[in-house]
Symmetry: C2
Subunit: 243 residues, 2 copies
């Protein structure tokens, strides 16, 4: 179902920078389509050379890399409002794969006209750079996660971060939310084995930090959990570019 950018519900949330002047018209003009995928569909393959950029409109997806022995590292969970394949207009190639977790809907942007942003919309360019730097910081903390935290801390961090990202987008309220990740997703996200996920989920329950089961997460003691997982709230809620 095609959504006109003017009625885009994502813009209502405080997370995203409001579009000013004719920015909205520009964004409308480069949106060329909106497409749907079922769950577990390949949205994007490594090294594909398609000249398209997407914005995730609804649903969950993952961005990942594979090692030739079959192992997979999930680089990030993509949530509504996240840009996909921004590399394609600028470097001509996307070096990761994207797969949907739930059914998803994507806004399709024309990559060739995308570059006009730099010429004609300096404030949008600046917001884009700020968004990329914000993502860099998230990548940094994930690096800390994988390099220096224990499996249970990593899992706690993952749950807390997802909760906050969803809450900021106005998609959930309260401490309970739907978490459509399998053990394998979680394992590939935090760099441990599937069996370790079982161990760590039990530990989260034992410590009464959170209860994650049946696709539902319930945060029981946010404070203890955040302290134990060295979780710090995400910075800069209101500068994110939504294109």
């Amino acid at each position: 179902m095609y959504v006109d950018c003017r009625n885009c519900p994502l813009r209502q949330t405080s997370l995203f920078r409001p579009l000013e002047g004719d920015e909205l018209e520009f964004v409308r003009s480069i949106k060329s389509d909106q497409i749907e995928y079922s769950a577990r569909a390949d949205v994007l393959r490594t090294d594909s050379e398609q000249q398209l950029v997407f914005t995730l409109f609804s649903g969950w997806a993952i961005r990942y890399l594979r090692v030739d022995n079959g192992a997979r590292q999930i680089l990030d969970v993509l949530l509504p409002g996240d840009l996909i394949a921004l590399q394609s207009p600028l470097t001509g190639r996307v070096r990761h794969s994207v797969q949907s977790i739930t059914p998803v809907s994507l806004c399709v942007l024309d990559a060739t006209r995308f570059k006009a942003i730099f010429d004609d919309y300096p404030e949008l360019s600046e917001a884009l750079v700020a968004t990329l730097l914000f993502e860099e910081h998230r990548a940094d903390t994930r690096l800390l996660l994988l390099g220096r935290l224990r499996p249970t801390q990593r899992l706690a961090y993952l749950v807390l971060e997802l909760h906050e990202r969803l809450a900021r987008r106005g998609l959930i309220e309260g401490d309970r939310f739907s978490l459509p990740l399998t053990y394998e997703h979680m394992a590939d996200l935090i760099g441990v084995s599937r069996s370790q996920i079982g161990v760590s989920l039990s530990e989260l329950r034992e410590r009464r930090w959170a209860d994650v089961a049946n696709g539902q997460a319930n945060i029981l003691d946010r404070k203890a959990m955040a302290t134990g997982a060295r979780y710090n709230a995400l910075p800069d809620p209101s500068v994110r570019a939504l294109i």
Copy 2:
């Protein structure tokens, strides 16, 4: 020693995008100083609010985060030409620390005037975004490294990547180069313990992949090493923004 941007030797290398038109004059005009630090000096502290951006002119440095138990995760090795604290003009705060490894020299850029890039130099903005996306890809591979490769593979990857980054900057030739990292640096970079570094260095020697000792690295069998460490050459050599 102050270097005029017009004579900057870094620009000679093919890694960096040539400045066009009055871009060079602009870059010259926002360079306000050049400062030197000794080895192991704190260049930047987490959450400092100083409004400065730096370009590393010479020497090696690291960007890192600390966990409150004292553990450190090094996010990246900074080499000549790399931007430091780009976050400060855009988000007002830098969320990592920077320390020199060797003595370093830094070009100091005025962060408040830095933002003029977006208004007046669209091609420079675009190059900046391309550079950030390139760095994002490096961060992605480092995530794969920490999440899905064995210690010896990680170490091999580190050596190969540093070699390539240095070679692209015209700082080294051949397979032998100076590597001023201690065991602790390497451990904090690839997310293992110091003792593991000893084990993995021996393994690199045993397999005749590389010989790393006394601050010198010597790559003996690049091909076997690259295959074993799942190393892929870095993409996009010539779009990097040097400001």
